[in-house]
Symmetry: C2
Subunit: 299 residues, 2 copies
């Protein structure tokens, strides 16, 4: 089955201690769409300006991403620039030019409205609401977020949590939202806000799922050399939703493996700038790392 992915589509200029790469393909929807494409047909909704490089449109197409929902508007594409320190957990934003993204309203093509799996990738909660308003009975809706929305759009986000099945956030966001350092009690509080499934991402420490059938401690695939972690979280949730949408059986029975697949795609994402590494991955490379993770965690 198809996955609908709505989020940001951007150009990222990224500096690390090792290199600087201007105007890479970036944005939550781009990373998630490439990640999901290894498993399922992807329908993407986003906006770019008329400066958006043709080669990036070709790259989406290479991943068979349905671009009917991609708006190309007069103006500049959302441009973000950031710099990582030696410890890549620390980064600072150098520039944020919203461009056409500032006025973005996600319009769903008619065909998209019946997509069974919906990923509301990181984007303003009001826009995530607007997507759900247009959907016709989706099977499984997952939303990602970021600290910015907790700070400036908390009410919208809290309303959204009552409309989704799964919520993905990172450890510090979970702490900010629940005021709780303990994962077990943070999960309880997050479930009370609405979502049946909650996944807390912990970067290189993996992720943890809390759902009706209990918790799952999902390992991160150990990356030998982190080149650029931008988009790893988006790749994780993109891979997760892609896998989930094509697996037989129930969401509950497939979610653990879906997380592992997401974790593996995220590991590839970290190994190159932007989507440079991810886009060169073959399904067999993914399967190999999933098997390695089996070996790494078996006892």
């Amino acid at each position: 089955m198809s996955v609908l992915i709505v989020g940001s589509t951007a150009l990222d200029s990224i500096k690390t201690p090792a290199a600087a790469n201007p105007r890479l393909l970036g944005g939550s929807a781009s990373h998630a769409a490439v990640a999901a494409s290894f498993f399922a047909p992807v329908r993407m909704v986003g906006v770019v300006g008329d400066d958006f490089p043709k080669r990036y449109l070709a790259l989406y197409r290479k991943h068979r991403v349905d671009l009917t929902g991609l708006q190309i508007q007069t103006g500049k594409t959302f441009h973000w620039a950031g710099e990582y320190e030696v410890n890549m957990n620390n980064r600072r934003t150098l520039l944020t030019e919203l461009g056409v993204f500032e006025q973005f309203t996600p319009h769903l093509p008619e065909l998209y409205k019946r997509t069974p799996y919906v990923l509301l990738a990181n984007i303003a909660p009001a826009l995530q609401h607007h997507v759900l308003d247009q959907m016709s009975r989706p099977k499984f809706v997952v939303a990602d977020t970021m600290d910015l929305w907790l700070n400036i759009a908390l009410d919208d986000l809290l309303r959204l949590l009552r409309r989704i099945d799964g919520f993905v956030l990172n450890e510090s966001e979970a702490h900010q939202l629940t005021q709780d350092d303990n994962l077990a009690s943070a999960f309880k509080k997050l479930h009370r806000l609405g979502p049946k499934y909650v996944i807390i991402k912990k970067g290189s420490h993996g992720s943890v799922l809390s759902g009706p059938n209990g918790n799952f401690i999902c390992p991160a695939f150990p990356v030998r050399k982190v080149v650029d972690p931008t988009g790893a979280g988006d790749s994780f949730v993109g891979g997760l939703m892609g896998y989930l949408s094509t697996a037989r059986g129930t969401v509950e029975s497939n979610l653990r493996r879906a997380m592992v697949y997401g974790s593996v795609v995220a590991s590839f994402c970290c190994e190159g700038f932007g989507v440079n590494r991810t886009t060169r991955v073959q399904r067999r490379d993914i399967e190999k790392r999933v098997q390695e993770l089996q070996k790494l965690t078996r006892f």
Copy 2:
């Protein structure tokens, strides 16, 4: 088979946001000995003053810890006081009175010298060396350490690493020692320093083993309420060595499960002040959590 445990034996006065508990049984050897005692006979070497409460000697005996190697000297027992913040990853030392520990020299009773499994719990590397000098062909030697020794006794520690089979340290210590943020390359550098097995502890994120047969990502048992994390690392390595010493088969084939058992004992340690919770644990409680960890990590 027996485990020899050498380390500090202390009185810990611990404050948390919830409570204050003076003069608890503490020290790396105490925590490790109690943890190991669930699996194997323990021989302990340490020193206490003549102020050491009789009830703590009784507590060691309750855990069938062989105290032939415990020196009781005229003077005061090592007393440490510390205070935890709401986020229990942050603590500060309020007081360190070394007492009789200042002049401690670990003398091994004759019988101890042939103990097959040796845990050099956290203590000055010079004393860890002194223990090894007295041993007769131990089967498996593991050393723990702390940041203090990296700062003031690095040469001794580096010499020690060439004499042991397994080295256990936490993530920040691994970073300090290798100047490497990446776990994979930090492991490489640590192996080059000597030990065949390296275990990096990551607190509530679990631990990772690197050894000849590859790596193992060991989960932490999710603790619902952390009361006092003091001694969790000592309990982990104590439980690990206790399990290892009684398991059939090779070290390599048992080390993963040994880490899981250590992780479970450490989870109990965090649930009470000092060893209050650990000492009330039954072997079946441990088995239950090991099974839970199986369920929590299976995919």
